[in-house]
Symmetry: none
Subunit: 194 residues, 4 copies
Amino acid sequence: MDGTKQRRRGDTRQRIQDVALELFAEQGYEKTSLREIAERLGVTKAALYYHFKTKEEILVSIFEDLTRPVEELVEWARQQPRTLETKHEILRRYSEALSAAAPLFRFMQENQATIRELSIGDMFKNRLMGLRDILLDPEAELVDQVRSVSALFTLHAGMHVLQDVEGDPGDKRKAVLEVATDLITQAHRGAQGS
Amino acid sequence: MDGTKQRRRGDTRQRIQDVALELFAEQGYEKTSLREIAERLGVTKAALYYHFKTKEEILVSIFEDLTRPVEELVEWARQQPRTLETKHEILRRYSEALSAAAPLFRFMQENQATIRELSIGDMFKNRLMGLRDILLDPEAELVDQVRSVSALFTLHAGMHVLQDVEGDPGDKRKAVLEVATDLITQAHRGAQGS
Amino acid sequence: MDGTKQRRRGDTRQRIQDVALELFAEQGYEKTSLREIAERLGVTKAALYYHFKTKEEILVSIFEDLTRPVEELVEWARQQPRTLETKHEILRRYSEALSAAAPLFRFMQENQATIRELSIGDMFKNRLMGLRDILLDPEAELVDQVRSVSALFTLHAGMHVLQDVEGDPGDKRKAVLEVATDLITQAHRGAQGS
Amino acid sequence: MDGTKQRRRGDTRQRIQDVALELFAEQGYEKTSLREIAERLGVTKAALYYHFKTKEEILVSIFEDLTRPVEELVEWARQQPRTLETKHEILRRYSEALSAAAPLFRFMQENQATIRELSIGDMFKNRLMGLRDILLDPEAELVDQVRSVSALFTLHAGMHVLQDVEGDPGDKRKAVLEVATDLITQAHRGAQGS
DNA sequence: AATGAATGAGAATTCATTCAT
DNA sequence: CATGAATGAATTCTCATTCAT
């Protein structure tokens, strides 16, 4: 009595986003056609255009919905003092945000070339650079700057690459966060000490 | 004595690879059309097909030519004892290989989704996993495993992301390598100590 | 009351089939390009793809629509007793079916090589073999088997080859049918007598 | 000592024709590309152009070489009295000519649409019509005209269609010829009697 | 007697997008 | 809220043919 019919009605927009993200993540943005999305949803291509003005807009809308937490994190971070505690907190929260929207971030990671040409390219880059600039002390030694960046990267790539390593996902995330925290700590100490 | 005129005649194949890589890296594989490559070379599309059977084959040939050093590295590495020195040496050589074929690796990094569907996807993955499996001790704590993987990643991503950070490229590479070495060292010690 | 204006809107699919068959019959399947079909219809190539998934599908759809009578004939024939009357009736009906879809059969006759590689090749062959196996007694003398086959062939080829012979088409068809009937009768008598 | 090397030297032209006919018969004229022919011969496409001016010329040359007997038959036939004996002799000889160059005739049969546009289309048609006009009495009843044509057709199609019928090829050919002879005899008698 | 390198024309197919209904 | 029908532009790829060497 609720299987397949009830869950329509007004949520088409949402369903488009879901299916689109799924396909984008699976095959890439360019290789995913609107026909495919429409077919999988059981609607016509034209229906997609009722909800979104362009293919790109579908992606943008997904991006905006799913990265709001990151946006807020960046905003929050900007106003914090650049203490080690702040940095730890940033990593902790970022790690959470990443895993909450894992498919999207996996997609972004794997489609950088495509994204660069799209409007979300800049948005994403800005957010990332925002974080980087807060974590990183431009006065610090190069090695320590690399450590900061590496911390961010470890977070980013960690989950995708560790997928075929044994172990519970929660544990892995914890381990990844620990390494990132370690790196940022070293970087911070280095910067202070110099 | 060989500046601009001699080269032509017989080097078309090479020139196609060069231009293709340039465009692939710039715009992504899918967004680069054979028309574009041909135009930039001043030949017809059909000429490309004289030298390569498909678009994919162009990419494959570039990949094969440029990643031979990595292939050799992996082979060499497999036969070494898993000492810390070996690991350092691997990172050192890998860093070199990466920067020797930087545009290709940048391309691979930014087009993962595309590459996954292509035949080089597996080749590349295998090579990477080969390295990973040599650097990483499956008995070690998860954190240390993450450190090993992170070392590899730092190398990989380091250069691309640090592009807009101040500093001489050589220095940056050295810094990146240092951080990677650090990570692998910690991972190694952890594994020994446990 | 329906001459030239009403038809449009909704009959595009049909019009594509008509024009396609006309051109296929005139120039052969391979030499007829989708551009040509589209142009003659005053639509774009893409419009054809809205109605049919591939070029081959256009042909298949024509074939299926136009050979349904033959299919039914075969089915009917399978359930009849193998009497001489049955055989005569088969030839009579087949002759009718052939001339009702003459352009298609002319096309099939003249494009056997092409058709063999296409999916309709088998369908057609099966239908034909079905008829043949009903008309032909495998126990009969070779000559009589040849007569049976020849009856079928006379029907098939008769019309096309007699096109430049004088005489009214109806009369010709009758003559062709008579010869075919004659052949099958001889074959049947032979088989009985032996 | 003679396997693969000796049988070169000057016979390339012949080998091209052989391979071409084989492929034409197998896949049709249009679907057979010069690349394919060249590859199977182990030479380059350009080599084909040394021996033949165009693709069509390859076919024409095969046709001319292989249908000379038919040409001669037609010429001979034209000068004979239109007796029943003559007609029998024509069928006998034609049957022989057909089976001597079976692959070519199979090809012609299966590629009529293609051939019609080619220069050999007319040549072939003329030859056939030549035979037909000798066998057929334009004054005769339509049925008898059909019988004459049918005799020719039985010869033509007989072999190809009987391929999956049991029995020795020689026997089949004899049977086919017998039926054709029968048909022409009836036609002849009818014409005389009327 | 043949090759290597290339071309120009054209093929089938796919895609994002539009719009009247 | 959505569909049916269509378009224009592009894409990958194939083919017969040419010509300098």
